[in-house]
């Protein structure tokens, strides 16, 4: 089998150009989907019979939470690829993921708190999903912290890759353990939004938003990856050509 297409991903200038070409293909659909979903979610969808208009924050909250976990998976996968095949570009992808992931995790926590205050009457409860999300935020912060504490780039790449892989092994265990922890503490069950079958005009914007956020993440990742590649390769000849 011809592996040239794969080896090309090891070349920073190739990936830089490819990322530049692909960015609009993700950014435009993301923008259109998010705009359409916002209209559908904030205007067309009927108010919830219990929560009124307050439920609409789910259109930002749920996609943020979904993307935050996905970013960690992408980060750990590319870190593992970088570690195994010594691929610098894969390390650059992992490095670009960390900031995005932390932002989405923080966004899901903040929107959750904004929703919780009127609905639960409190900004914060020790609900397992909140705790798991908070731990995820700390994992991202720790990853960024380790990266910034090591001066040598190659060492920082590989050490943080080990951390990302250790984290991905731990993440499911953490999720299940806090789930279990809550079930024994008998948190008030009012806080659990049970899952009634959502009417289609509420659900459709949510699914569009999920897809829109995913594409938005891809677009932001590509932009950040380009910047990261330029920064890493600043001594290389191709960067001088690109910049001049």
């Amino acid at each position: 089998m011809d592996w040239t297409w794969f080896h090309k991903f090891g070349s920073p200038p190739h990936v830089y150009r490819l990322a530049g070409t692909l960015t609009p293909w993700f950014a435009w659909p993301a923008g259109l989907l998010i705009a359409a979903a916002l209209y559908g979610g904030l205007v067309l969808a009927p108010p919830d019979y219990q929560q009124g208009d307050g439920f609409r924050i789910i259109y930002v909250h749920a996609p943020s939470a979904w993307v935050s976990t996905m970013v960690y998976a992408v980060m750990a996968t590319s870190a593992a690829i970088g570690l195994i095949w010594r691929m610098k570009v894969a390390h650059a992808v992992a490095a670009s993921c960390a900031g995005i992931g932390a932002s989405f995790t923080a966004a899901s926590l903040v929107t959750g708190m904004l929703w919780g205050e009127p609905m639960w009457g409190t900004w914060w409860v020790w609900d397992p999903r909140l705790v798991a999300q908070l731990v995820l935020l700390f994992l991202f912060v720790g990853y960024v912290g380790l990266r910034s504490a090591i001066d040598d780039l190659g060492r920082a790449d590989r050490a943080s890759a080990v951390l990302a892989i250790v984290g991905v092994v731990n993440l499911p265990i953490i999720r299940y353990s806090v789930e279990w922890w809550n079930s024994i503490h008998q948190a008030p069950s009012v806080m659990k939004m049970d899952r009634p079958s959502m009417p289609i005009d509420m659900l459709a914007p949510l699914l569009m938003m999920l897809l829109g956020f995913t594409l938005f993440f891809a677009a932001v990742l590509l932009v950040r990856l380009r910047a990261e590649l330029l920064r890493r390769e600043r001594a290389a000849a191709w960067v001088k050509e690109v910049v001049s």
Partner: protein, 222 residues
Amino acid sequence: MIGAALAVVGRDLRLALRRPGQALQPLAFFAVVTLLFPLGYTPELDKLRQIAPGVLWVAALLAGLLSLESLFREDAQDGTLEQMLLSGQPLAALALAKTAAHWLLTGLPLTLMAPVLGIALGVPGSAMPGILSSLALGTVTLSLVGAVGAALTLGVRRGGVLLGLLTLPLTVPTLVFGARATELAIAGEGLSGALYLLAALAVLAVTLAPLAVAAALRIGSE
């Protein structure tokens, strides 16, 4: 391989015995942190008994974490670590041996000391077997997870703070199950379920953590 690992364990124990003061520090830290709670919260034993599981586990976690910072530091400074890398022995086995020595010097004494501190927090004597067994299992996992963090932050600026930031989120499952086991022990209920889960975590950590420690040590000494 087993001979080399046992030699590492023996060496670390001998080194620690020549400086007994250092080995006692985590124990003193454990005691001080635990005894701050009656002062900061309330001296009433009935109330302290309720928070005793969390206090004991968090204090043991922090005491173990503080001692982990120096787990590989001296070996890296005096060149022992490089000799280990060059020895031709599997580094994961040596890392497991280092961690085992650390557990014998920190985890085990912390476990044995917990009942004494438990009495100070109003824990009934019937809960002591549960506290001992849960901490004995949990500290194994904590030592191993912490060893990964210690290997990753070896020779890093402000390594101590970073070690806590990296390690503490990963210790959440151990803390949850360990504190739960202690809670059940205090309430006089069966705690075998929580102990099985702690044991499962310990087995998983013994299996996987040495590989991560070895990888991190190799990266750090390149």
